[in-house]
Amino acid sequence: MKESEKERDVIIETVSRVMVPFIQLFALYVIIHGTGGPGGGFQGGVVFASAFILYVIAFDLSGGRGRFPESANTLLSSFGLYIYAGIGLLSIIFTSGAIQYLNYGFIPFTSHFEENRALGMDFVEMGIGITVMAIIASIFFDLAHKEEKDGERGKEESR
């Protein structure tokens, strides 16, 4: 659809253009500080997805989809789960004698067992964050897309 049909608001567009990178930075901060302080993968992922939602509300849907295309969205939504399950598989591989699925301490990131557990938790939080971000964005884009498309179809038929 043409851009001119949509009513544009300068204030909203400028403010959200400034806000979006800071929201994304805050989301990354929340994900990274999931182990050291308050935060976590679920919360950070939702905050990250809310940046896309703000962009779509302020600008338009096709522009938002252009920034975050469907292929990347689908890829990321399973990539996070792969990270999570892959960390578990790594711990199986490194403890081939006694199988300890999701016991991150046995993965040799560092020489300390406890530090390994902390680092494994970091990676797991990142995986959760990626999956949640991609899924929330995907659900929002799909729901929004259908409405707009129905409207288009209705207009085409009426013509």
């Binding site: 939504s77 999570y84 938790m121 995907s138």
Partner: protein, 176 residues
Amino acid sequence: MKNIKVTALALITLLCALFVYVAEDIPVFGDPNAAPIKYVELFSIDADQGDGRLDQNLIPQQLTKRLLERGFPPPTRVEKIPGIQGEWNAFITKEEPHYAKEEKYYFIKREGNHLKVYRYAFVVRWIEKGLQETAVPNMVTYGLADYRGYDTLGETTVIFTAGVSVILLLRRRSRL
């Protein structure tokens, strides 16, 4: 009709009274030393022969017998809580792959002529051992991602499934 209303009112009043009666036993919110948060009472045994043995760090036979009868693991060591008269911690040994195999499990307290035996709640171990075992200061995160890692993997899968079903139902136009 009027009878039903009166009966309903009486029933509600009864329920409220019952609730107040039960709520008397519920500990104050946020009290860290409340009994259900810290330990669960198991049973009590007579103090006459057990007390002296416990002070010498020996396990009374009656205690082991009663625990085995009820299906609990028998204690391997008893230790007096320093500074408090008449309270002991009992330890069990567990099969853990990396950490010390001994774990604080029972709490024994003298009350009058009886020795009351409690089992520590899981929360106690969670709070006391978590930082030491995982090197993560955030109590919620080491629960979420480490102790309950399987659970979180399942939660993430649930979110993933929700997203995939929305894609399948609503995204008609393009491929996955």
